[in-house]
Amino acid sequence: MSGDRPTQPAGHDDRRAEGRKPAPAEAVLLEPRPLRPALLAGTRIGVRTFAEMALAMVPAYFAALLLEKLGVIDVLSDWAEPVMGVMGLPGSAALPLVLACLLNIYAAIGAMQALPLSGEQITVLAIVILISHNLIVEGAVVHKAGMNGIFFSLLRLAAGLTAGIVVNLLFGILS
């Protein structure tokens, strides 16, 4: 990728920030501002940021919901079932994991409670889910922040599963 060549047109905020020396801390960061302008500026920035994030997150949410309705969750849990054993989890734990990744933690907890899991298995699954959840919507958030959302979502999935394997091994050693 040639995004970091200095000769590239500086179209993007992030890119311009990179070429420079670390920007001197802004004046606003060093001196407290009068309350009223600060309140106004904060509201303005808040609304603008909200709008920007919403524009990225709502389409991602639409995609996630569509995938769920198309039955992708069942297909993915079928795939994931055999893998669950490496984390010391039963195959049935694939469903809450896939629900967490595609939708969110709340969806996963609903499915988790229907399963007969031991305390240690709940902890392993909880750690995997806490690292790797809501990957589509939060991938859009990371993308908005200027990074590659797909890379970060896949990384979270890999790091979450690896964490599950590690925690399961640690439980085996410690017990």
């Binding site: 920030a17 909880a126 750690i127 964490a163």
Partner: protein, 156 residues
């Protein structure tokens, strides 16, 4: 028709839930930041937090977004990253490292408590995840830095 209708209805309801919650959190966060950034207590807090994260390669400019994301959630930390990128105070490398750290651990209170409530061990959920976030940030950060260096060198 009714399948499409119920899908759209669920989408609209879900979008409403997502948006109003985000609005009532993100606007106050930005107002509080505008009022407090620059005040002595806030700078002390940011410095203290930055000192904890310095071993991961994160600079002091990343203190506010990482703290907001760590406490409240990725969307809010991401919002502050967007704000600071707009102001030009953070470079790409720092945004990458922040995204790594926040990808592994965010919304530490809310998300963790829900899972502890259904039976997960609090020590592991908090302790392991924070340590894991540190490890992943260090490893992937180092790998990415090496890759970028190698890439630049190869191109002269």
């Amino acid at each position: 028709m009714s399948a499409v209708g119920s899908f759209l209805w669920e989408f609209l309801r879900g979008t409403w839930d997502l948006l109003w919650k985000m609005f009532v959190i993100i606007v106050p966060i930005m107002v509080i930041l505008e009022v407090s950034e620059g005040r002595r207590w806030f700078r002390a807090l940011a410095r203290g937090w930055a000192r904890l994260l310095r071993p991961l390669g994160l600079s002091e400019e990343t203190a506010t977004p990482t703290l907001v994301g760590f406490l409240f959630g990725l969307a809010y930390g991401g919002g502050v990253i967007v704000r600071d990128a707009r102001r030009g105070t953070i470079g790409r490398r720092q945004v990458f490292l922040m995204s790594l750290f926040l990808s592994m651990v965010h919304a530490i209170v809310e998300d963790s408590l829900i899972l502890i409530a259904v039976g997960a061990s609090a020590v592991w959920v908090f302790g392991f995840r924070i340590v894991w976030a540190g490890i992943v940030t260090l490893l992937v950060g180092a790998a990415a830095t090496a890759l970028v260096r190698w890439h630049r060198k190869r191109r002269g």
